[in-house]
């Protein structure tokens, strides 16, 4: 078996932007707020310096500048850490991008507690909640490099505002290059009958691991990747919930307002099913190595296995 590569989806972001421009995406421009080295838009900047604009440490202005670019027919990717892109600039995104439904893409890196050592001030676990609440906003959290690069390209081709969430931590690349990402479509990674485990972002790889461990213990888990939180693939989630009768959601986000709540809302209205949410339990993160933090916060295959066994 080939060795599994680990790549941070922020690298996928920078590389995909470059690939887009190389492929002739003539409307593409990239904005950053003094974080080009960290968000990896620096990769794009190095290759296409005339299409990259630094807005300085001023995210509110950057989001509105992006709106201005889009009204002129360009497709701007406004880039910063998730904390500042969705948090600091929330109202700019809401009023100057969401309300006029402008064709702006928000590339938000360093999401979740896997930011690591920087600590709680930079560990954004609220961005799904904030961005989902904006009418017409597409919210995507890809699971690995293959999916992330495709998501960037899909966002470029899609007409309307898109929030893309990427991570700092290198995570396993489990998709084949032949995988086809589609906005709004979930992916059944492994079929199962006893429980549905629905994850996104870096938790998908953990869910896959958990699925294997559960299988060995005689529990058949269906593993689902919901990279697009909004619009949600309702059909796929309902079908799986009907089949297994039990759902677990796993996300590197607060259990408030994210994937878990989106799934709960859907199932409560259309297919009442017991749900257990795994995520950040309404608390702030803290400093530490990313992998240790993920374990500590229960965002690990081991904990998914434990919760699943208790739940079913």
């Amino acid at each position: 078996m080939a060795e599994i590569k680990n790549i941070a989806t922020r690298d996928s972001y920078g590389n995909a932007l470059k690939e887009l421009a190389e492929g002739g995406a003539d409307k593409l421009v990239v904005l950053d707020a003094d974080l080009s080295a960290a968000t990896k838009t620096g990769i794009f900047k190095k290759a296409f310096p005339n299409q990259h604009f630094n807005c300085g440490i001023a995210e509110a202005n950057m989001m509105c500048v992006a709106a201005g670019f889009s009204t002129m027919g360009l497709v701007p990717f406004a880039s910063s850490f998730a904390m500042f892109a969705s948090g600091r600039a929330f109202e700019q995104v809401r009023n100057s991008i969401g309300y006029p439904h402008l064709n702006v893409k928000i590339g938000a890196t360093h999401a979740g507690i896997s930011v690591g050592e920087d600590g709680a001030s930079h560990q954004c676990c609220e961005d799904f909640a904030l961005m989902r609440a904006i009418p017409g906003m597409v919210v995507i959290c890809p699971a690995d490099d293959v999916e992330a690069r495709q998501a960037v390209k899909a966002a470029y081709s899609y007409e309307g505002p898109v929030y893309l969430r990427f991570g700092r931590l290198a995570v396993p690349v489990f998709h084949e290059e032949s995988y086809k990402f589609e906005i709004g479509k979930g992916e059944v990674i492994k079929e199962g009958n006893d429980v549905s485990i629905i994850a996104n972002g870096l938790m998908v790889a953990e869910a896959i691991e958990a699925g294997k461990a559960l299988e060995e213990q005689g529990i058949s888990a269906e593993i689902i990747n919901i990279a697009t939180i909004k619009p949600l693939d309702e059909e796929l989630i309902i079908a799986s919930a009907k089949k297994t009768g039990k759902v677990i959601t796993v996300e590197e986000h607060s259990i408030i307002g994210g994937l878990g709540e989106a799934v709960c809302s859907l199932l409560a209205e259309k297919c009442p099913t017991p749900v257990k949410r795994i995520g950040v339990n309404d608390e702030f993160g803290h400093s530490g190595p990313a992998k240790d933090l993920l374990k500590q916060f229960g965002l690990s295959a081991e904990n998914i296995v434990k919760v699943t066994k208790e739940f079913i």
């Binding site: 421009v29 300085g56 001023a58 509110a60 709106a67 201005g68 009204t71 027919g73 700019q92 009023n95």
Partner: protein
């Protein structure tokens, strides 16, 4: 200024004022004060300064205008209506359920509105982005933003000014309506941003301070903008509520509509002014 043009613009400004009163009266809400103080500016922009096409509102190479102080929508809507973007009669539907004339400008429903605004401080950033995009695309397009003097208390405005200077946006013109009043009182009492001209100069702008209710001075200011190789700011000293006697310089008319009696007085005053100009 040429006297024929001046007369034309004075008539247009008076029509804009009538539209402001007509629309806010029928809405039973809205912001007449700051709309009235900017009436000459709206008239100058849409009567002389800007390149646009009312028949083709989305014409790609038009100049752009962003009403960063979005609450003064009645003034912008009136200017657009009298220039043929939509029927003047529709001004009466302002803020009504089902009307495309939203309380604050919506670019997707109102022909001629280049950006949805309303949350203070954001429009000026969008305008700066448009100006930068025009340069990137190699297009000869000017972008104008109108801000309130209260609005510049928003920190984002100064982020936008830094951006405009950093990218040498000589196609960007920020107009500040300095009528001296905001909702809770005078700007001096609430949160003074003075000296606005010195601050803007320090931020890298070429700045001119004018009487914004005077067409000769507006013409000189915009001529200077065209000659400038820096981002340009026009600080307009104006009278809030100008043109309606009981609204002039009254802070209470920031965001209140006239009642029936007040409406009649205002329309009589403006009607007389219009008749005088048209005589």
């Amino acid at each position: 200024m040429d006297s024929v043009l001046k007369k034309e613009l004075e008539i247009f400004a008076t029509q804009i004022r009538m539209g402001i009163i007509e629309s806010t009266y029928n809405a039973k809400a809205g912001h007449p004060g700051g709309s009235l103080s900017s009436a000459e500016l709206f008239a100058y922009l849409y009567g002389k300064e800007m390149r646009y096409s009312a028949d083709e509102p989305k014409w790609e190479d038009r100049d752009r205008f962003v009403l960063s102080k979005g609450h003064c929508a009645p003034g912008l809507y009136s200017a657009l209506a009298y220039k043929g973007f939509f029927p003047v009669e529709d001004l009466k539907t302002l803020r009504h359920i089902g009307s495309y004339l939203q309380g604050h400008p919506n670019m997707n429903t109102v022909p001629g509105v280049d950006m949805s605004t309303g949350s203070l401080g954001q429009g000026v950033s969008v305008a700066a982005g448009m100006a930068k995009a025009a340069k990137y695309l190699g297009k000869d397009i000017n972008v104008y933003a109108l801000l309130g003097d209260g609005e510049i208390e928003e920190g984002q405005v100064w982020e936008a000014f830094m951006f405009a200077a950093q990218y040498s946006l000589d196609n960007f013109c920020a107009v500040i309506d300095s009528n001296g009043l905001q909702i809770d009182g005078t700007c001096a009492e609430v949160m003074s941003a003075e000296p606005i001209d010195e601050k803007l100069k320090a931020f890298g702008f070429e700045v001119t301070v004018i009487n914004g209710n005077d067409f000769d001075e507006l013409e000189k200011a915009f001529d200077a903008f065209h000659k400038s190789d820096k981002p340009f700011a026009i600080i307009m000293k104006t009278i809030k509520g100008l043109g309606v006697s009981y609204m002039e310089n009254q802070v209470g008319w920031h965001g209140k509509a006239p009642n029936e009696e007040e409406y009649k007085i205002a329309m009589k005053e403006l009607g007389e002014k219009l008749a005088e100009l048209e005589a």
